[in-house]
Symmetry: C2
């Protein structure tokens, strides 16, 4: 018996301009000298190695000239993550499946995760060692039940996986809304009020994934939002607060990866939502956190009971990690503000900050209420005076001034902020009173009109719940740039406007 | 308000030689005229349309010259499935998620599937409308519980999704082993015996996915196995039986797709296993079915209790669909036969059929026992005479003759059937008696030596449980062709041989 030295041939890295989203993808020739191609199948997982560095990727095989027989083509994200220059020699072998998948399999069979198992899973996810299919197995396998210990371990592991910010202050406040309500850009009013008061509020926000605008998309109408950690710290140093996109700050990177699988599958497990949010807030170094839970028939939470169960989970995790969490439920029956879509929402925000007479009152009141809760975290302040202080800062123009300071510190964004020029008014089909507005429907409409990609696309509301309307009066206006998207939104609104008009008499009672 | 006509530009199909396994993949230019590329992200799902035809696919974006701005590149499986020629104009749009995913989501939240929901899911899976991630959500979401009605609906829907064979006979017998035991090529002995007796046994088998050989891989050493439906029917007409690969016959195609996700995730839900097997047998038109459940410490079933629970599920589904199912448990403590790997297993089979003196006795006896059960299904035969009849057919050479007839009818395979020329003997580390053999370990070893891709790679066993060995005596021989695979297998066997040698005295009692 002779043991020959193993000598798997090496391949030269070639960068290929192929955008494969989040997935690592590599391409080799079906006549590659490095492997007997029949051992590898298209879409199987392989491991690249050079020195101590390795990367898992999904394999495509080609017999076009895309790559030579002595090359391995690395698509964009894989090339960037591997961070080796073109021409570097690597070996490629079938990938061993991540060992942490054994724990996922056991969980599917009914066992619970240990904290170290969750740590290993999140480490593998963060380092792109799980395929989408494997992430789906983890999420779905955890969806039916998750113990308190699992929830804590998941929040902890996710918080540890990325940047961890520290602030040289005793009190660092933060707020978060679970989303689902169109408009509702309270952060962009709360942050300048709270920062003007003097508390530290380093706010990171997400971009829209399934909604027509995230706070980051809307803030980008006014200022640059893709700041790195050092830039963000500088802005907070100068302004007490910021309004930046979380994507560049790399807080809880596993969360972004998990969400990219949760969304297409429409998974919304309570525990996973809480771990996702809390991991980001733990990593962001918050000491006080206000959670906004909108409740309404087309909101994410339909009943106060659901909101209470979620509240308990937030409080439980907050207590464990020493964050003072306050959870409030808010009116989620209809959009907050009049605009839906980045430019229209930014207009609402600035109208409130400027105390313009036609600024949306609901957005102003909700923002003041949230700011009041946060200002009440200030140990310097007498209890219960938060609201008056918030209102004073808004009415006096101090909040507006603070917002301009933040915008200047973050810098200009340079994106197109025109309002969509294709417009259509959607009109009341009869006289009556607005009885309900479907948040999901309006979100879909604004998105099909082009938001958030087209900043100026979206919907401007003229009527809210309780308003009287006469037949033919506009309920809202659709704005778009792209012909086919405009047509789609208009056709969709014609089928279902999202408004329920009740037949009520002028006196206000129901007409029988 | 003006509603313009929607006019999404069309793209010309270009075939690109990119093997993407089972997934539909298409490539467009990031400067494509048909879409605003930022709306589409890499790895998102898109829908192609031309006329009434549509296809869902995973999208890659490129700014290399791979495709022009007016083209859409279709990778191999997508091109083949769409079945339109190069240059055909198609539209491409973000894919709506399959509606049946709503049922998957509800199932994850604890609801059960209706039969029509399962039907819709299997229809979408069969038509490649589910991504791997979505299939994983379905499988994992169903893994924690599946009702009896769901099991029946799943078996039915999967059976309906592909070819459904009918035979002009009252009795059509079939057998199936749930696998996991190396060697164990009983079908290749049972089929010729039963066919020689005169019963119809149209056997389809799978290729190895995670094992070193499937029956289809082993039969391919002797004959062609990739027969289509008509060819298979012709062979059965002539020979009463066949031994073909199920892949070309397209029985329960959804099963192959589900398995391609179950395997990498190591999912092995009982109900899914039963639905998978029974759907193929229902579609194959079997009236009588024998299921072989090997039980042993390194088999798929570790205890008789587990085997019994599985037996009940098979009987339940069989009864519902009018198939007479008989389930037997067999000894799964060690490999059956001496060879592991296609060529070595084919040698075992032929040695048994030829009644050679050194033919493996365990393979002969197990095959006779299984054949006896099937022959006892013959209404013409007196009860309890099946075993004697099976033995008569084997000993007389009638089964061998039938096997040659089947081989001739299926035709020559043309694959290389040499035995691996790189060999290493793995030796007993001390005197004693073989107490246990790890099936999983030997499967892994034979696979790392190159089986089933290299037909002649694998392991030849010299010792089985209960055999005495002296130090240095060979336990088994590794065969391989490829240097690096040979090295890997030898190194792996040195670390863990898979054999437990007990220190027993010559008298047979344990040495204390």
């Amino acid at each position: 018996m002779t043991v020959a030295r193993s000598s798997r041939p090496q391949l030269k890295i070639r960068r290929i301009k192929l955008d494969t989203g989040r997935e690592n993808v590599v391409v080799i020739s079906s006549r590659s000298k490095a492997l007997r191609a029949e051992v590898f199948r298209g879409f199987s997982r392989v491991e690249l190695r050079t020195g101590a560095k390795s990367l898992l990727a999904t394999l495509l095989l080609t017999d076009d000239g895309l790559v030579g027989v002595d090359e391995i083509g690395m698509a964009e994200p894989a090339f960037r993550r591997f961070a080796e220059s073109a021409g570097t020699l690597v070996t490629v072998a079938p990938a061993a499946r991540p060992a942490s998948l054994d724990a996922v399999r056991a969980k599917i069979q009914g066992r619970s995760f240990s904290a170290s198992e969750i740590g290993a899973i999140i480490d593998d996810v963060t380092h792109y060692r799980y395929s989408d299919m494997e992430i789906a197995a983890f999420l779905v396998g955890s969806a039916s039940f998750m113990t308190s210990d699992e929830l804590l371990a998941l929040s902890h592991a996710m918080a540890q996986a990325g940047t961890q910010l520290t602030w040289d202050r005793d009190v660092v406040v933060d707020k978060h809304c679970i989303g689902g309500i169109p408009g509702n850009r309270t952060s962009m009013i709360v942050v300048p009020i709270v920062a003007a008061h003097g508390l530290t509020i380093p706010k990171t926000s997400s971009r829209a994934i399934t909604s027509p605008a995230g706070t980051a998309d809307t803030m980008e109408v006014l200022a640059r939002v893709d700041l790195g950690v050092d830039e963000m710290k500088q802005v907070v140093q100068t302004c007490n607060g910021c309004l930046v996109w979380g994507g560049h700050v790399n807080l809880s990177p596993a969360d972004d990866i998990l969400i990219s699988v949760e969304r297409p599958l429409s998974l919304d497990t309570r525990e996973q939502m809480v771990a996702s949010i809390m991991s980001k807030k733990i990593a962001a170094g918050a000491t006080h956190l206000l959670i906004d839970l909108p409740v309404g028939p087309s909101a994410k939470l339909a009943t106060a009971m659901e909101a209470m169960r979620l509240r308990k989970l937030f409080e439980f995790v907050g207590d464990h990690f020493g964050i003072a969490v306050e959870v409030i439920t808010t009116d989620g029956r209809q959009p907050i503000g009049n605009g839906i879509g980045p430019v229209l929402e930014a207009q609402d925000v600035m109208a409130v900050l400027r105390n313009e007479p036609d600024a949306p009152r609901d957005l102003r009141e909700k923002s003041l209420r949230l700011a009041a809760h946060l200002i009440d975290c200030d140990p310097q302040l007498r209890g219960g005076t938060g609201y008056a202080r918030a209102r004073e800062l808004l009415d006096s123009g101090a909040a507006l001034k603070q917002m301009h300071k933040i915008i200047d510190a973050q810098g200009p964004s340079g994106c197109n902020t025109d309002l969509g020029t294709l417009t259509a008014d959607i009109k009341a089909p009869r006289d009556g009173v607005v009885e309900a507005i479907d948040c999901l429907c309006l979100n879909r409409l604004a998105r099909s009109a082009g938001a958030p990609i087209d900043k100026g696309a979206g919907i401007k509301l003229f009527k809210k719940i309780g308003d009287s309307v006469v037949q033919g009066e506009p309920l809202y206006r659709i704005h778009a740039f792209d012909d086919s998207q405009f047509d789609l939104a208009v056709a969709s609104a014609a089928t279902s406007s999202g408004y329920a008009i009740g037949l009520r008499s002028a006196a206000g009672g129901p007409e029988l």
